[in-house]
């Protein structure tokens, strides 16, 4: 038996091919997070530089004025839009990092809607033997019904999130 499995090993070419693909995938993922970080810091810096330019330009004018009042700088519409873009980029970058420390899936997506429209809540892990061959594809959602992830459901009783190995019990909502 052991010899049978021993003969099923991968070729050296297959091993190196898969490793190369995985390296490329990981590099692509890192580039996406690096770009988000660049946006996170570069755009606010650009805004700060433009604001500094406005303040410098205003200073000679205020110095010429005899009225003593504080100078306020108001962002124009273009700067406001740039700030919004920077905020979105920062949020995206933070999300990429937070994804690695995300809470358990059952905390994020505790509901599942079944094919008959019935809605159930994800319960505790089950110790029952679950026959995965009976599983049907479904979608687990968050409380606001705005985000969802793929999952599998068995006989309206058990749920497993995609990529996970643990089965949870389902309860009526």
């Amino acid at each position: 038996m052991h010899a049978a499995y021993a003969a099923m090993g991968p070729s050296d070419e297959a091993t190196e091919r898969v490793l190369a693909n995985l390296r490329a995938r990981q590099s692509a993922g890192h580039a996406t997070r690096r770009n988000a970080n660049v946006l996170r810091f570069a755009v606010p810096l650009a805004i700060a530089a433009s604001v500094a330019g406005i303040v410098v330009a205003l200073r000679p004018a205020t110095q010429m004025q005899t009225v003593a009042k504080s100078t306020t700088v108001e962002f124009n519409e273009q700067d406001t839009k740039a700030i919004e873009v920077a905020d979105e980029a920062a949020e995206s970058a933070e999300s990429a990092v937070m994804a690695e420390e995300a809470p358990a899936l059952y905390e994020l997506y505790p509901y599942v809607e079944l094919s008959d429209g019935k809605r159930m809540t994800v319960g505790p892990k089950t110790t029952d033997e679950v026959d995965a061959s009976l599983a049907e594809d479904a979608v687990a959602t968050d409380q606001a019904h705005e985000r969802s992830v793929p999952c599998q459901v068995v006989q309206d009783r058990y749920l497993r999130y995609e990529g996970d190995v643990v089965w949870y019990e389902l309860k009526k909502s």
Partner: protein, 159 residues
């Protein structure tokens, strides 16, 4: 900032085992390669921390087992595709292993992970039960039934 996953180290430690498991399910080196790559890609897309290398391997093996079962259920697999001639030639020089491999590949999918984990990876039934989230008695029953099927197919004791 979270620690970057050293995918190459994880890969070097576990690709061989994951590939063999996928091969036992899917019956072809090409499909096994695709499936094994998908399993490691899941780890890149959603990195996680493991308690130790044993935990890491257990996670990968169970993930591979679940993925292969899903592949087998998919409509695309319903088409019957004969094994290419060059793949058959690779095994034909070792008849005894060839018959055993054939018998293992023909096992029902619910037995394959228990058989692989016990006979090749050397896990005990209690350890397998934890990995697959089933009672230990279920694991023992599956191994017993698998041995009976293999004995029937091979016409002798299963070692």
């Amino acid at each position: 900032m979270a620690k970057t996953l050293n995918i190459e180290a994880v890969f070097r430690r576990n690709f061989d085992a994951v590939f063999r498991l996928c091969y036992s399910y899917l019956g072809s080196p090409a499909d096994a390669e695709d499936a094994a790559q998908t399993v490691f890609a899941k780890l890149i897309d959603k990195p996680r921390t493991f308690a130790d290398e044993g935990h890491e391997r257990a996670w990968l093996i169970v993930c591979a087992s679940n993925y292969c079962k899903d592949v087998l259920k998919s409509a695309q697999r319903k088409r019957v595709v004969p094994m290419p001639a060059y793949e058959q030639a690779a095994w034909s020089s070792v008849d005894e292993i060839d018959d055993t491999i054939d018998a293992v590949l023909r096992l029902p999918s619910k037995y394959k992970d228990c058989v692989y984990l016990h006979y090749y990876e050397g896990y005990k039934t209690a350890e397998i039960a934890t990995m697959l989230n089933v009672p230990a008695s279920t694991v023992r029953n599956r191994l017993r039934d698998a041995r009976a099927l293999l004995k029937q197919a091979l016409g002798g004791d299963v070692a």
